[in-house]
């Protein structure tokens, strides 16, 4: 198995701050995750998730504020609908939806962020390489 790669789309106000907190608290978490910061989780276009998966990422993590806590009051509700559609499409096309994870991680929850990343990485390791990694005909 090659090195696994996880792309994380995190909202600026909660999950990214939580990642920051995990770092400043010197918490150790799996290094496979690559973080992309968005101003809000609802900035996610389902195409971002697919683009990552099609280009060989093994997992995609979308992180935002907990429902009710969104910095823009309702962005994460829209994010949830978008991720639901992306997952549904993947499911009906026979693409493994376990590679997509949506998690709400509040800004103060550095340990939770580390935990989510560890748990997700473990899951992805179980699933093995994303078949698109070596797919020539994509």
């Amino acid at each position: 198995m090659n090195d696994i790669k996880i792309v994380a789309f995190l909202c600026n106000w909660c999950t990214y701050t939580a990642a920051d907190l995990a770092g400043t608290s010197r918490l150790k978490y799996e290094p496979e995750v690559r973080i992309i910061r968005l101003m809000c989780s609802s900035r996610i276009d389902p195409v971002f998730i697919l683009k990552a998966l099609m280009d060989g990422a093994d997992g995609v993590l979308v992180g935002g504020c907990a429902p009710g806590d969104c910095h823009y009051s309702k962005g994460n509700y829209y994010a949830r609908r978008k991720v639901a559609v992306a997952k549904t499409i993947a499911e009906s096309m026979g693409i493994n939806t376990e590679r997509i994870r949506l998690s709400w991680i509040p800004a103060s929850e550095g340990p939770l962020f580390a935990e989510v990343v560890n748990e997700f990485t473990e899951k992805i390791k179980e699933l093995g390489d994303n078949p698109t990694k070596n797919e020539v005909y994509l």
Binding site: V85, I89, I95, W104, E135, V136, L138
Partner: protein, 386 residues
């Protein structure tokens, strides 16, 4: 019954004379409907007033050349029509019009939507390369009996073939070919119907009943057929490998996107700079895999488009008609949209009042798509989402 009338008139010419009549009597100023093109081998859309009503115009053409919603969008996107216009649309075109109205791409002010019991249509290529006279004849004779058989995938599995949702509905099903029913569903439609020279005779009820019976049975049959076709198709495309096989002939022309009424973005994400890759990027990707199909991102385009429009997909089949490689795109999109629409229990084109799923939300929903707590933190975390 003041919202339904019976109009005498034999076959297609009878239907056409209805439009001629409301035009000459000034009930409408303009009509937008298909007519034969200059060469006479296919159809195009025409905006016609009472002096320009074309002899070859056909409210129910045997092919769908351009999705009618696209035409109406071009006319009213930047503002309302100043002329009272009746637009004759197939049921799938009508549903697309309703979706585009909700997406603020169509303005229905001064527009009267007219739809009908649609028998289906020929695939574009079959009609263009065939003998049009005999194809026309075969098509017109099946108008009242729903016996038309086509090879067009979208029509084979269509289960919403009535003009439900239009201002005016023309109903042929179950009628003898010497006339048809006109029913009005909205205030706009009733206003127009009031002045139509139809009869309001007593056996209207029998005629309506006859249609309803046939309709109920047909809709049930077609819906079952649709589910069977889609389920069977799903087996052949399931998984990345199968999916790549289906799309393997794709030439990246993006015709499916251009023909699609729901894909209205003036600049498509998939044709924008956002997805433009430098040589460096392409070479890197190819090197990583040792080989890479060019142009890349074939599957990304189709899957991405599903994400952008499948919620509003009306299963009209315009994408498949436009595909030069005969990829069953309409089956694919119908399959995906069946699932995505079910997530929000959304029926595209059903009503103007039903909001688009991406502009509304509920506080408590879709829990099965989120995984916010890890096993260990589940008990320890005090951030309450309830």
């Amino acid at each position: 019954m003041d919202d339904i009338k019976w109009l005498q008139g034999k076959g297609k010419p009878g239907i056409k004379s209805f439009f001629q009549d409301i035009l000459t009597r000034g009930l409408i100023d303009t009509v937008l409907m298909p007519a034969k093109n200059k060469k006479g081998n296919s159809y195009a859309w025409f905006l016609m007033n009472k002096d320009g009503f074309l002899e070859t115009s056909d409210p129910i053409p045997p092919v769908m050349t351009i999705q009618g919603a696209n035409i109406l969008k071009n006319i009213t996107k930047k503002g309302e029509s100043w002329s009272k216009t009746a637009v004759v649309l197939r049921p799938c075109e009508l549903r697309a019009v309703i979706e585009l109205t909700k997406l603020e791409q169509i303005n229905l002010e001064n527009i009267i939507l007219i739809s009908f019991d649609c028998p289906g249509a020929y695939p574009l290529t079959q009609y263009i390369s065939g003998d049009q006279t005999s194809l026309d004849q075969k098509y017109d004779s099946s108008l009242y009996t729903a016996s038309f058989e086509t090879e067009r995938n979208a029509c084979i599995m269509c289960d919403k073939f009535t003009g439900q949702g239009a201002d005016i509905q023309l109903c042929f099903l179950g009628q003898s070919d010497d006339g048809f029913l006109i029913s009005a569903a909205s205030a706009k439609g009733k206003e127009l119907l009031k002045d139509v020279n139809g009869t309001n005779e007593e056996n209207l009820e029998i005629k309506t009943k006859k249609r309803d019976e046939l309709l109920g049975q047909l809709q049930k049959e077609k819906n079952e057929k649709r589910q069977v076709i889609l389920d069977r198709f799903k087996e052949t495309i399931y998984g990345t490998d199968n999916l790549l096989n289906v799309f393997s002939a794709c030439i990246n022309c993006h015709n499916c996107r251009r023909a699609c009424p729901i894909c209205f973005c003036s600049e498509c994400y998939f044709e924008s700079k956002a997805l433009y890759s430098e040589a460096d990027n392409q070479l890197n990707r190819a090197t990583r895999k040792n080989a890479l199909r060019m142009p890349s991102d074939l599957l990304l385009f189709h899957l991405g488009r599903m994400n952008h429009m499948s919620i509003s997909c009306v299963s009209c089949g315009a994408c498949e008609d436009a595909c030069p490689e005969n990829i069953p795109v309409s089956l694919l999109f119908s399959l995906v949209s069946r699932d995505t629409q079910a997530v929000f229990n959304y029926d595209p084109g059903h009503s103007l009042e039903e909001p688009l799923p991406f502009v509304v939300y509920k506080n408590e929903e879709l829990k099965e798509y989120e995984a916010h707590y890890t096993k260990r933190h589940q008990s320890a975390c005090n951030c309450n989402t309830k």
